[in-house]
Symmetry: C2
Subunit: 372 residues, 2 copies
């Protein structure tokens, strides 16, 4: 299925970029003066092969998974926070809910690897209350929950592979399936997000292996660990790479041995987006680890990606450089969930609106540049 999907990915259509540029240069502003907003519009036109793209339906996929490596004390938060945050997403009270509403986007929470059985969630009093609250509390689009569980958390990668190879493949397929499904439902732009206690650890491991940089240069303090835990985290990642010997030429091998389920889902979503000609915004550090897996599987996916922001997590930059993406925002964010991507949607839409709604020199009766 992955191979089949990759074969559908084509480079974006530069003829459409030229058409978009022609319109942009005729709008009542000095050429190029709206900088990256113009770039966003041009890319949307080229991706969609539509001179008047529409971004009416927007969706952020927040992939949730647990990590066996959390047992090594690499996170400031206890592991149960992953599932607690899933309930928080469904209640509409998390950062991603707030910012998705701000951007007019829907949130789809995907359980791809949480170490908790949500089908039994109805038994626990807090969760039923949560789900009820989710339906009543906000008049903006609801948060959806989709169960696509591949693993009950990954295994501790310091002791062996985080996932079996077929599990890693299945995670990517989940992302592709979601991309296909939401394309059919008429969504016009996708964004990625993540939830998983300890998931900066596999993301740093992936960054180290796929960019070739030392672990210490791509590892940060995640949710806010102290100095000792930070040193331990670097050691844990180094050990995990040494024990598993992931093949940097085989991104699926990397994903299975030192990755995470949500990272695989994100990689798959990006591959699926590209195969459907849907623009996709990668959020921050964890999402970019997924984007880097997608890029290493098929570099043409890059044409369809936007990098939402420059994460405060060290190591993010190296991955963005490897893919060749310039982030849209730089707001010292390091929350994940898709929060940066939600904000980036607003900037990409701003670019599209400029392109579609501004008057041309002719329409407005404004003189062009001297000697033109």
């Amino acid at each position: 299925m992955i191979q089949e999907t990759i074969e559908k990915i084509v480079p974006i259509n530069l003829e459409f970029a030229v058409k978009a540029q022609r319109r942009l240069d005729n709008l009542t502003k000095p050429p190029g003066s709206l900088g990256r907003l113009e770039e966003f519009a041009k890319r949307l036109v080229a991706i969609t092969e539509n001179v008047m793209p529409v971004l009416d339906k927007k969706v952020i996929f927040t992939f949730a998974g647990d990590h066996g490596v959390a047992d090594e004390g690499v996170s400031a938060f206890p592991k149960e926070v992953t599932r607690q945050m899933v309930f928080n997403f469904l209640q509409g009270g998390a950062g991603i809910n707030v910012l998705a509403r701000h951007a007019g986007a829907e949130v789809v929470v995907v359980d791809i690897g949480v170490d908790f059985d949500f089908t039994k969630a109805g038994d626990s009093p807090d969760s039923t209350a949560s789900l009820r609250f989710a339906r009543k509390s906000w008049d903006s689009p609801l948060t959806a929950f989709i169960s696509k569980k591949v693993v009950m958390g990954t295994k501790n990668m310091r002791q062996g592979p985080a996932m079996a190879r077929d599990e890693a493949i299945r995670c990517i397929e989940v992302g592709i399936e979601l991309a296909n499904e939401y394309t059919k439902k008429g969504y016009k732009i996708f964004a990625t997000g993540d939830m998983g206690i300890a998931n900066t650890t596999p993301s740093s491991a992936i960054a180290a292996v796929l960019t070739g940089k030392p672990v210490s240069e791509v590892t940060g303090k995640g949710t806010g660990i102290d100095e000792n835990s930070f040193k331990n985290k670097i050691k844990v990642i180094e050990d995990s790479i040494a024990i598993n010997r992931p093949d940097s030429k085989d991104p699926i091998d990397v994903l299975s041995k030192i990755g995470g389920a949500e990272i695989g889902g994100i990689a798959g979503l990006i591959i699926g987006a590209a195969s459907n000609r849907i623009p996709v915004i990668a959020d921050g550090f964890i999402s970019t680890a997924g984007a880097l897996i997608a890029y290493c599987i098929e570099p043409k996916t890059k044409d369809y990606m936007f990098a939402a922001h420059n994460s405060a997590e060290i190591g993010h930059k190296a991955m963005l450089e490897k893919i060749g993406l310039r982030p849209i925002l730089d707001l010292d964010l390091r929350l994940g969930e898709g929060t940066g991507a939600a904000l980036a949607i607003l900037m990409i839409e701003a670019g599209l609106k400029i392109y579609k709604e501004m008057a041309t020199f002719g329409e407005a009766g404004v003189s062009k540049k001297n000697n033109q």
Copy 2:
């Protein structure tokens, strides 16, 4: 009037910042993980002395003025574009209209120094059509036009002062009056913008004099002039400073001799905003020249300012550093009008929504950090 207004400006209330921080640290996210969004919320709370600030009414003031120095060939566009763009604003077809709609903000176009008599605009067939169109075309808030003309364009500063001292003072007063009026009308956040062919030239002159940097380090290509015109522009600015000898210790002297009417209006608006405890977003290069004038008149105004973005125009950074502001966005914009400020509104609002709408750990039943 300026003195009276300045005396009303007080430092922002840090007790409120502490209260805001307490709430931010109790929301379901690692402390500080929403970076600058948290900073924006905290500043709004401290500025307004309100633990639950509201940003329901937002207004962008686009000050328009002409510049005698345009005669020196410093711009890529002919001078009549200033008035043509005012009509474009009223038709809703300019960049600022599109982005203000995107941000849910109103646009107020202020004629503070355009070399055109808009009271006779009804005589010209294009303008009546324009005004009619403005009333019919968009269901989002209309663009308002306010006549506060102080000069019919400034004089050519290469041959003497751009304005008389009392004209410069009057420009600042216009800004203060607007700030007072729109505070009374219930607007909760102001943003600044500019329109004026050739106005990067006085802005660079102000930057050079008030930061102490050489003209060549703070002068850029504005709307897009060629190499020869660029060299000429630097020479024109150097000559203007040499002839007028503005006193860098007297910001009003600087504004009158080498400034512009719209820059004075922007400075006044910022002073007026601070005196009314209203947060104010300075757009890009020209607006920051106004902000720097305001800051040099009364440094406490800084507490009330947000810097919208890092302009592609060289010289902007030196002014932001002088004031001590870190820009919110960095999108290679160099259009002015308030376009960057409109986008920044969306980010500041995002910070406020996070602060107001996110669930706390207790509300969501999410575990806090280990050992807390």
